[in-house]
Subunit: 417 residues, 2 copies
């Protein structure tokens, strides 16, 4: 007997859950369209060179790799045990985010796409995380990106679209935290982090509040040596503004950030918009403004993103400014479930057409066809005879009506709902 459990860390979804997920996904996609983002699709599988080439950071360790096959595998296996020899049993892997595939896609297709290009890119991603409650190895991401423009309107449009999606989903009072990697870098340099370690330091700092503070301190010390001014750094990460770091170029960046904040606040009156000097984000490819959206009902963020002006060039594209934001679909579903907003209203148009007897099956199918033509959802019960079992089926499927076509109705050629 084969186990009927899903693979560890993976999930099945019951019809009720699927309805809620589909409804939320449809809402998000509709808002993306409304804001002029165009849907693209990329494959689940990418070559390892693409996945590990740039910008994978911490996630590289979490790639599900796909075993080579046939001759390629046979050639590789003997190498695997010769000491010192390199070998690679896998040549491809499952995508761990949507940004790396999007960058490859844009580098390849930009000649056929509008310039700039507003992309909506939604689908499952996979990470080989240690399986634990609430953390899954397959989860959906919904990404909004603007490629090919360094204009501030990208930041405003992406974040506004995500906020509009939350509003449509009835997720109220989201809190938007804004920062700029360049501001954080200025602070970190003032605190003694060498300039070539700044991006890595952000990946460590992003763990604040998620792991033990001592571990963060240790990570930073390891990266930058003992000369780090930990207390000052800690203050900044806790959200204190560091005016000393806000000099010269930094001051302009800070003013632009405030401008983004003010524009967003004007357009999204129900959201709280804050500049958060300690916000780091855990990816090393960000180069400018970054953001995160939080909600009182969610642990961690429900959306986040930033500017990544260098990533597309890695795939041979022209230098291309880019800004993107991603909705954490699974966390959004958890919030919706808590708010009981996920369950769509019961559908009054659902009819279960019972099959009175095998002789009257045709009449049941004919009735169902007539109902469907009038806009009803008509489910012919896949049983016949035994009406009790069929009524039970009608109940279990959530049908609003159960229709019985007995000999009288069949003879009259009409029925009443």
């Amino acid at each position: 007997m084969i186990s009927n459990l899903p693979s560890s860390g993976f999930r099945d979804f019951l019809p009720r859950e699927c309805r809620a997920r589909e409804s939320a996904a449809r809402t998000i996609a509709a808002v993306a369209r409304e804001f002029g983002f165009q849907t693209i699709e990329t494959p689940a599988v990418e070559d390892l060179a693409v996945l590990t080439g740039k910008g994978s950071g911490e996630n590289e360790k979490l790639i599900f790799k796909i075993l080579k096959r046939g001759e390629k595998l046979e050639k590789e296996l003997p190498k695997a045990l010769r000491p010192g020899e390199g070998f690679e049993l896998a040549d491809a892997g499952l995508r761990f985010d949507m940004t790396v595939p999007l960058s490859r896609y844009y580098a390849r297709h930009q000649g056929s796409l509008p310039h700039p290009f507003k992309a909506f890119h939604m689908g499952p991603v996979w990470r080989a995380e240690r399986a634990q409650k609430g953390r899954y190895r397959e989860f959906i991401q919904c990404d909004f990106d603007v490629l090919g423009s360094g204009d501030m309107s990208c930041e405003i449009e992406v974040i506004s679209a995500i906020l509009a999606a939350f509003e449509k989903l009835k997720i109220e009072e989201p809190e938007v935290l804004l920062n700029d990697r360049r501001l954080l870098y200025a602070v970190l340099e003032r605190c003694g982090i060498p300039s070539d370690k700044l991006a890595q330091a952000c990946v460590v700092i992003d763990k604040m509040g998620k792991v033990d503070e001592a571990a963060i301190k240790e990570g930073i010390m390891e990266l930058a040596g003992k000369s780090v001014d930990w207390d000052r750094l800690r203050g900044c990460v806790a959200g204190h503004r560091d005016d000393l770091a806000l000099q010269d170029g930094s001051l302009d960046i800070f003013k632009r950030l405030e401008e983004i904040r003010d524009d967003l606040a004007r357009m999204n009156e129900r959201a709280k918009i804050l500049v958060a000097p300690g916000l780091a984000r855990g990816l090393d490819y960000y180069t400018g403004p970054i953001f995160e959206i939080r909600h009182p009902r969610a642990a961690g963020s429900i959306a986040g993103g930033g500017r990544y002006d260098g990533l597309i060039q890695a795939f041979g594209g022209k230098p291309t400014p880019a800004f993107g934001g991603s909705i954490g679909f699974e966390r959004v579903m958890l919030v919706l479930e808590e708010l009981k907003g996920a369950e769509p209203a019961q559908d009054a148009s659902r009819v279960c057409v019972t099959v009175f007897s095998t002789e009257l099956r045709r009449e049941a199918f004919a009735a169902a066809a007539r109902l469907r033509a009038q806009g009803f959802k008509a489910d012919v019960c896949p049983l016949s005879g035994r009406l009790k079992a069929q009524f039970k089926y009608a109940d279990a499927t959530g049908a609003r009506w159960a229709l019985v076509i007995g000999p009288d109705e069949a003879a009259a050629g009409r029925f009443k709902l």
Copy 2:
């Protein structure tokens, strides 16, 4: 520089293609709902024990396997080179169809599901086929299944739902071929195939018309020895009815098949419905009626399926009759493209809001918000100034209107489309 091509055999989709795919997928899902099928979701990744346990047949060789990680991999590697010792570098793989995961799902969840259960299960599947034109390693399947009922209405409802989906997609004149594995088995036994080789023989016979006939003959001879009456078997596969095989139990099965055909014909007047005595289908788990839907514009079938009454028990479920059909989404998209039916009509509600200058950016965003509130799709151009570039953007994105809010419009606080 990293290559910007997708992994061999995988595809990117441009926005135009995504619109056509989304629209077709929505249509199919809406028909499934209309017919009372409930959406379920299962993961992309399944344990290898599930994928290879039963019913994978030829597809087992095509599984993309996922490399073990960490300690598990280190423990396995040394075994790989010791001769004669078994080893397994992978513990999971990507699903190659939707039926095996559905069977696992139903064995696990049947207590929480209606009885019988009508499932709609749509998503990508992966097969490590040799990459070649028109054959992809990732493709979408849309499955309609009725689990827990042996009633003939399952066959009628599944095939009718699929035909209704084709009708909504404006794929006209589909041809439905019907057969029953038990009839084919009776013929094959009469032609000299031993009873324990019947299912395998069907997998070979299914290749008729796809590969060289000599190869089929060789395959059958290899399976069953020289005593096979090849000419008679060939005649049957070519579609000739074999009345000698239609005796005793077989005759009843044949009559039921004709009944299914007649019911389907009555309900689906635009489709051609035929009993096809040579139809085999290439999976070994079918146990009763099987079908395939063809279209003059498609090479091969655009849908197919059958009854698989034994599969769910393999996962420890109760004995469970089941019938399912699957739409070959990629082939359907090819047909739609040929029929030029895939392109949705241009959307008259799409407006590109240009940004006259950075000073007037706020006004552009405000105008976009007003347009969206009135049901328009408003795309704020992610550029500012340079109106020529912005008009080019409006064209490239297929906007119906481009809106310019200059100082006069801003001062007046109104604009005209």
